[in-house]
Symmetry: D3
């Protein structure tokens, strides 16, 4: 097995429960009936994790954990590090050890690896498209249940950055909050009073007039929701030096470069995590 | 709240841990800072879950659980049942209750609903494409970690059927197993000896000659891997009345109808669950 | 410690939670007061697990896990493998390591070993009684709560086979289902429509006329409930080549051979798992 | 549903995890396929829990919890209380509610009820045999993993009493402890120094000379191991007023009355919990 | 029972596991032996939670959860809200319901209530001492294992504010980080590159020269460690309008007012949570 | 790492869940942002755990577990054993290993160590004050939720002893139980009938007349509640040889010696565990 921890910056005790849950989900009550019946107990195997299509890799550490949790005697040696681009056909890692364990853990390892590499690949693609603009690509809370921490890791592996991890690490005031507070100033004041000094406050605005109000209140960031390009350009100009700007809503690979060209600090994309096309990764023995 | 259990056929004690985990993932340690700061404790709200695009709905019961676990005082009334097609803009359900709870549970509820409806929608699409052929659409074990049971539910909601839920509910003998056993006959014999009488055995074959061997052994089903159309047609013909046939590998919306026209019993599609595009669902207050 | 995994075919991550739970149940909050008070910290001991009566052994791997979870410095070397017959007084395994850990884990290790060996012993007994008939001995879902997977393992260690592991890995249609569906044909049709292609369907029948109906529907297996020998013989004859046959109800060591002589494929016995007499196993230092 | 808590003296939060675990073990990933396929969603049923043989009942509260956890809409009304004797054919409880939930929870409910009633029945039998002697019947730590607390409850329901619940609620000094301490006096002194003032100390003795030593040390109780009747009688006489006496080892229904007649305070029986014959209990719709 | 959720801003699903764990810790395996033996099953009781000394109350919701989890039939009506000052002898809440449940849950409820009210009381004391200065009292990560979220709640109930909840919701660069990075500028640059845009960065400084560097880098806040009053005054002056200032180290009730008078934005106090004197709260029947 | 288990007498499987919970509480979802950003992956560090004030140490094993769970490559070598007195400035242990892991686990390790050493220190202080009297210092159930077992360990490390660990390991009859039973004799009789023979019974008394009743019943111990010194002295005299005596209520460092001088067997102190002042322990790199 390779370095500790499995994913850079995330101690294994954070990730093992997730990998364990995935393995138990696949093993059910009775374990791997096919392998148990057919593969001799002492058989050994060498195998390769192979990218069947080009892409940016993420999640090799989770694959490592999956094999290790099934049998610590399996060794996995990576040929590439997370965050790097693999060519189609490239060997990502080599496995050696008990054949039973390799076959039993294979699907779970590939499910993690394909999904996270899918996220890293699309993130890297959009990052490349806006290269040179100074705009960051960020993900959202539109993640798949139970997978947020590893999905956000994959976004970073692809060159993106993370927005909030949850409801408790920053304040994001949206339309509904404002309506229920009776106004933006009141909403902000309540947030300011409640938040600890290490908690940032971002405010969602739809119009330039709302933006002006938000900037006057001293927010840390503004979410510029679904603005057309000219409005967005003006918003960015107004906010410069006063608050970070985040463009959100309706951003696609087609219009990302144009939006980034407005000088906005960030573009946030729900589909990086909620609509992921897996990278095709396989295991060859 | 509506009927018991939340998802038809799946008692709530199977699903509550999953929804609870998703909520805790979003709440973190400190809970919903924004709502806690801004929304008055006694405020009530009415809200609607709305499809922002047309699709087949799945997972309303998980949304229901999400709101109920945050605050049992929230009522959710569905306007459509899982497995039905919603038009773009259609109201899926109406919510009434404490505003705080509605806002706090919103994202988790939508994350489940959007993902499962995405699965149901694409499944329904492919089912429609092969309508009239008698071929079933089935999913695989290429699911997202932790979500298998609900993903497979969504496939059924979209009109598809389920392959194995895991490694322990049926035997599927693949190339690697055969190689490690030293031959297909030996592999099958070991499987037959190990399996209980309620466990089916399927065997993966790449060629017609392998197929003939498999049929001679008395397998319950054959997985016909990546065969071209003429070969597949012949394979189906050979297997008729002797074993169920499953076509697998490289099946896309473009070639599904042609493959189904061969008379194969099933087509299995990993991308129903590993590469899901979420249906856009929102909450309007 | 010996081979990986502790029980053949069952990865340790499936079993460790069970052994851990049993140890924690015995340790309570404060641990082993007696050993902590009396046995010096550095003391080492050699010990033997000994069968105090003859029987078929099952569960040495769980004993191994129990000692390892209390102290990884304890080594356990088996002298016999699961599934083999031990004479009264036979040494099953030898232990060496810290005396404290050996004494603390002793009772849990023995509780598993005695219970599973009791199951294996009675299973082996009934298997021996019907040797030569081609009939298999199978267990049921009448297991002790929390212990199903290891009880079913012990049945296999004793030479028996497993029926369903739970409600979700096969369909078994009983009287009550038929009554609530309004007839056997309707019940079967609904089951066939719902079940994935890898799920078998068995149907319980009380009479030969019901059997004829079931066979006509194409069930995979029939549960022949409480039939007398002549009826059973006729049922087996009718079903031959059309469905697997399982005799159930009222089967005892006394009548098992006669029932097997009818040519029925399986006899299923609830008492293999619900009414177990433990094999007397002890630890000698 | 009936009274709170499910089992007298044991708050439901102690027992729900156990019942939940048993249900999840049976439901697996996919739930009750048979019932889901066949039984209509809105169907209701009335059912009876029936003793198919006479016995002392224990565990109705666990059955209640099993049905409630599957569907809170099921009502269960008991016709007999735990600890009472039921005639063969007696109705133990009546169920009313959604048919699906009743069928899905049936097996788990019966597994608990049959096992615990089996324990209560054999306990009540041995208690009856020694009635009038003043000797108490007690169970041991030879319990089935995960089930200790409910097994010990069943012993009480049958009229017996409980020895230690685990390694941490009292001190029991056995041969191995004494050997490792270098003598009985030293072992006792260490135990006395370590134990809190609310912790009793019992000492195992094989001979009258050891007994004399133990009594001189001031132990709370002595375990008289495998003594013949005359020795036991003398031991009881020596210990009277100085320590409680427990006879252990080789006690069977055949010799229990004679042993009790020695005046020993307790007889302890491992087979009350490690070799249980389930009471036959069924569910009739 | 009173409002949902038990603690304002913290949904019950966040807190129930903590209260459940505390109850199970007290119940052990066998439950409340004393109450089970002595208190009749049907007995009801009225009781009062009473402050035996004056203090600021926090945690009534956790007491409520403790009683509800033991028996939902117990009603608890609060006479005071968290965050308010109670006189010695004041009734905090009234209980009505099954006597057994009230006695069984009593100690756990009081343990939570006494500890959190102790925190709120000392926090309120220090807040009062610096009233009028504009300086906030904040807690740290020096909390008791497992209790962080409720301890931090209690600090807010006492009028204080919260610093980081953990290692992942903000960045705090200390001496060791700087040393391992090879300088403060490098450390800050790495932090800025890694952190999402909603993550604040605070930097610990010991000297005014370090402070000047930190301010030049654009940190969000500075932790002024163990500075004497004149230095602190100058530091506050330098940082005004450029970064938030936090005084830390050696702050006691005796010097808090003088430190606050420097105009520092926050004083942080580990002893609010690591060295808590419980408020004496009792239950009277 | 040092000896197994981490805390003498408490197998690691009892303590790891607690340390794991504490680490996860601190890591949150995203882990240690600061260290991940700033400290290079391969950096190593040597560090010392240092007492910043004199005190009796307890909990080094929990610190060891904290570092090991974050990174098994960290080695910790203790310089002092639990239960010993450290001078201010004394090095308690030396750490060597990956710098990231040391920094990430630091706070949790210190939080355990400071809290438990605080308990051991104050316990040792009161034990020293009453040295020579034969009276034992015991703690109560007034512990902090989730921490009981380690708090009680720390009391022992400081030279004290433990009262009940929970509601299930002994019987303590208080005023409310007596009132609900209708009298002390009835309460005791019910307790005696319910309790197993290894369960002790203690009775709380306020007056000498109650004491006389209790002694007549044959209780194992009496809790003498809030008696003045002359009454206590007389109570101790009455109880000598008949029951253990425990003084409780209002005992402080100031009056402990006088109370012990009465000859009472134990003094019980809630504040040993509910009002703990942490020992100041730090980590120096």
């Amino acid at each position: 097995m390779t370095a500790t921890p499995a994913l850079p910056g995330l101690p294994d005790i954070l990730l093992e429960p997730l990998v364990r849950q995935a393995l138990l989900e696949d093993l059910g009550r009775a374990g791997d009936l096919t392998t148990d019946a057919i593969v001799p107990d002492g058989a050994r195997a060498q195998a390769r994790l192979v990218a069947r299509a080009p892409g940016t890799i993420a999640g090799l550490g989770l694959a490592t954990l999956a094999f290790r949790l099934i049998d610590p005697a399996i060794t996995l040696t990576t040929e590439i590090a997370d965050g790097h681009q693999a060519a189609g056909g490239a060997v990502l890692a080599r496995l050696d050890g008990p054949a039973r364990g390799i076959l039993t853990a294979e699907r779970v390892a590939l499910n993690f690896l394909g999904h996270l590499s899918g996220i890293a690949t699309i993130t890297a693609g959009i990052v490349a498209q806006i290269a040179g603009t100074g705009t960051r690509v960020v993900c959202t809370r539109k993640t798949l249940p139970g997978l947020r921490v590893v999905q956000k890791y994959a976004v970073r592996a692809g060159g993106g950055a993370n927005h909030r991890f949850g409801l408790d690490d920053a304040i994001l005031i949206k339309d509904n909050h404002i309506a229920l507070a009776g106004g933006v100033a009141e909403a902000f004041a309540r947030a300011r009073a409640r938040a600890g000094h290490m908690v940032k406050i971002e405010l969602e605005v739809d119009t330039l007039s709302q933006l002006e109000t938000a900037l006057g209140l001293g927010v840390d960031a503004v979410l510029l929701d679904n603005m057309d390009l000219p409005t967005l350009r003006q918003a960015v100009s107004m906010a410069r030096g006063r608050a970070l700007t985040e463009a959100s809503g309706g951003i696609t690979p087609d219009n990302a470069a144009a939006i980034a060209a407005t000088g906005v600090d960030m573009i946030s994309l729900g589909w990086l995590t909620h609509s992921v096309r897996a990278l095709d990764v396989g295991l060859d023995i």
